[in-house]
Symmetry: C2
Subunit: 400 residues, 2 copies
């Protein structure tokens, strides 16, 4: 089977027109442009000769007959999103499924999941399909404007079927996506074969000191919550050094001081510590380092240091070995010497789908590492290379 790069790029730019905003796209889940884009996808699926199935979550499937390999991603965007994000993987799946039909095989189905970008939940469409959330729960999820998922999905009621697609139809799932990070772009490579989607843990730390006048309180009598937070940040950098790999990341991205006034010694600092790695054992070891640092800073400063888990942990999701091997082989054919194996630092629908079947993922570069921004882009040659690698791997993996 031979995907057609020109047809693929044409479709990719057509999808971009739904919600186009300058270089970027505004196509949140169940917005008018999103509904229009899904109607257009259904028409493309039917034109290929696949069976369209829009499930109660708004996920749009194009189903081959019998057992098949599923390929896809998501076509909803952030409020001010890039034009490629999930759209790239959806249109690549459409083109490969079409090429497979034209070639008389193999059996390839496609999907565009809904609300990956979390207007209502987080990865809501694949979450529902994987049975990790019930429709009754999801219907209560509210967007920041108050609209619920239950109300919003009525916008696709005219296309929806009552049932979800049976996952047993599929032998596995391949997702292609832009990297959304700087690695491939900086090293000048075209393709990344994903080894795992990293796990994530996050705590909220509260340092409670003593709010005081910033003029009348001598340094030796202070319990300054910001100084405690800065000390924690410094010690984490030192003590993580022996635990992490170059792929491990940790972030203090949110901080709130109280009362947050220039003339008052901060009495309280609340901040998040988030850490990600592909290895659950390493996440554990990092958590022990964090616990020690918090305990040590509390002892050293006399302040109260408390940690609360903010959300469910995300367990690392290893990609299927056979699928990685097929992607590596295809990458070496179509991008010899210009690909690498790498973890995915971002979460993807493939995480949810991994609970149903083997999954594999492929990355192409994000120029400057930019994503979730109108400026998001990838060179056209890389977009086409990704399509060819994905098609070759799908050809090797899909049932006949």
């Amino acid at each position: 089977m031979t995907p057609d790069p020109a047809r693929f790029l044409s479709d990719l730019h057509h999808l971009r027109s739904f919600g186009a905003a300058g270089h970027g796209v505004m196509r949140r889940a169940f917005s008018e442009p999103d509904v229009a884009a899904r109607e257009w996808l259904v028409a493309q699926i039917e034109a290929i000769g696949l069976t369209a199935h829009v499930d109660p979550a708004g996920n749009v499937f194009g189903l081959a007959k019998g057992r098949s390999l599923l390929i896809g991603s998501h076509s909803d965007t952030q409020p001010e999103g890039g034009w490629l994000d999930g759209a790239y993987g959806v249109i690549a799946a459409l083109e490969i499924a079409r090429a497979a039909v034209e070639a008389g095989g193999p059996a390839i189905s496609m999907v565009s999941f809904q609300d990956e970008e979390g207007r209502f939940g987080a990865l809501t469409g694949s979450d529902l399909w994987a049975g990790r959330t019930t429709l009754a729960e999801a219907d209560g999820f509210a967007a920041t404007d108050g609209l619920t998922f239950g109300q919003a999905r009525q916008g696709l009621a005219h296309l929806m079927q009552e049932d979800f697609v049976d996952p047993a139809r599929f032998t596995g799932f391949l997702e292609m996506h832009i990297e959304q990070g700087p690695v491939l772009d900086q090293v000048g490579e075209s393709v990344g074969v994903v080894t795992s989607i990293v796990g994530l843990r996050q705590i909220q730390v509260t340092v409670t000191g003593q709010q005081n006048h910033a003029g009348t309180t001598p340094m030796a009598m202070r319990q300054d919550a910001f100084q405690g937070a800065a000390r924690i940040a410094g010690l984490l950098n030192e003590r993580f050094a022996n635990v992490v790999t170059p792929q491990t990341v940790w972030t203090i991205g949110h901080m709130q001081l109280h009362p947050n006034a220039s003339s008052i010694v901060p009495g309280r600092a609340v901040f998040t510590i988030q850490w990600r790695d592909g290895d659950a054992d390493r996440l554990d070891r990092m958590e022990r380092v964090i616990d020690e640092v918090l305990t040590d800073v509390a002892a050293e400063t006399g302040m109260q240091v408390e940690a609360d888990r903010l959300r469910h942990d995300l367990t690392p999701v290893p990609m299927d070995e056979g699928m990685q091997a097929a992607l590596r082989a295809a990458a070496e054919v179509h991008a010899p010497g210009r690909w690498r194996s790498m973890p995915s630092g971002a979460l993807h629908d493939a995480s949810n789908v991994s609970h149903l079947m083997p999954v594999g993922m492929l990355f192409v570069p994000s120029i400057g590492g930019i994503s979730h921004d109108f400026a998001e882009d990838t060179g056209e040659a890389d977009l086409v290379t990704g399509l060819k690698v994905l098609a070759a791997a799908a050809d090797a993996l899909a049932p006949r």
Copy 2:
């Protein structure tokens, strides 16, 4: 002359009744309780036989005949203030002026300045008297609720005179105040003779890094603005060590990260650095350390680090040597071994008055260092000791 502790405490509790709120007081400048309190003060002044003079700023003077020593503070409070703050110094001045009249000398006048707590400006009443702001400027100052100083001061129009009191009437100014810090309380002493009101400098620092996805951006490729800010805080602590005294303070009290989200590497951190000391040369040396630290962190991290002055510097204000000597001598009589010389870390009306005449200040302990809070308090024995020390020093300093 002999001040009467019982009469003094009675008056102090009477002033407390204007705007009383539990243990504390709510008596903002020109609020109904503040106007009522100033009407009451005028009545007390006239009952003593001094001449009341309410100036256009709302400052209430009780004037002795001829050249006199001025004593006082302010009777407005924070929105949720303590009962002593400036009120203590105002009622002590009232009692000492009364005792002087009763004794037939020396010549002592008193004052309650207006809006020391900055409902409209900052130390607005003494600022206007010292000619550091014009009435036309001050009339435009607006409270957070939109009320202007010009509108608010109409509340005292029925008592106001058109002119300010001529500062040349006074040989000097003594202000007694609660410490508003923990030092005297922690060391168990009753009186502090103020050596200087510390100077204050403040800058706002902006660290500009690169906003990135907290999962997909390897640590080595990050420009994390919070990490830059934490590094600056740590280096300041190290490098100030050789420059400061135990009385020097510095504070990072306000910080804002952007976009301040747990899953995003902060692209920008904006925070204040404020430092205070009684010695202008030391303030200079600290500023050079800060400049070096900012330059070094910019070089080390590749991030942009900019500093802006947020407000006018406050120059350290040394207290008059003769007045300090009189206060020390009086302290040794009425609180032998239980007093110390110390700087004032907080700003006071005496700073403004120092531009007009020699000034001196006396502190009594704040229990737990607490001020600007309903819980603010001082032991009654210390309140009386302060009164006696102040009266003895005034007796020695005032013209006859």
